[in-house]
Amino acid sequence: MFTVRVQAGDFDIAIEQANLVAGSNDIGAIVAFTGLCRDEANTLASLELEHYPGMAEEEMGRVLAEARNRWPLDGATLIHRYGKIEPGGNIVLVITASRHRTAAFAAAEFLMDYLKSRAPFWKKEHRIDGTSGAWVDAKEADDRALERWKS
């Protein structure tokens, strides 16, 4: 099963994994990436995630189609949240299922690299002191991460 969802509410990784493999006996490997709201400096009240409704789902679908072209996946689930998310909260979930672990690992990492730089989401910081912080800057590291898939 292949699923793409954009939602405000939280997700449960156990339920998503169970749905992904339900009825299948030939999946040997599942890789699940969870991206969390991080607050190293202890100044963050929440991250607010803005998104482009419609395009977010479409772009995630295109990235997933590209992953399926490259690796033999038996299933995948992509969930991205929007709205305000507190430190420690879930932001994104990518699950890949395959007969073998190498494909599941590679596809999950590819999906995350591409979601980061192609899915239309933007993070704004809200601080504990009540001020609205800056928009999070896109990282050069994320663009560099893309380069390795282009060989």
Binding site: M55, E59, I91, W122
Partner: protein
């Protein structure tokens, strides 16, 4: 009429999330559209001050600034994405 939508700090700088505009005949590409918008007021000039940085989508698919606007119904402008 064509629909323009803005996100994140592009939206904040322009001061609205969307608008509909009628494009002059000489606006043929994304780059033309950005140049035309920058003439419309300070808020647009501010939003597009570093134009090469701004990302664009036509009808919900990423395009480059040299993309033609032919047939476009919705054009989106936004900063580099920071999801995931």
């Amino acid at each position: 009429m064509i629909r323009l939508v803005y996100f994140a700090w592009v939206r904040e700088r322009i001061g609205k999330p969307e608008e509909s505009v009628t494009l002059p005949a000489h606006v043929l590409s994304v780059a033309d559209l950005i140049a035309w918008l920058k003439e419309r007021g300070e808020e647009y000039a501010y939003a597009f001050e570093n134009a090469p940085l701004i990302r664009t989508a036509i009808d919900k698919a990423h395009v480059k600034h040299d993309a033609p606007l032919t047939g476009a119904r919705e054009i989106a402008f936004f900063p580099p994405m920071t999801g995931g």
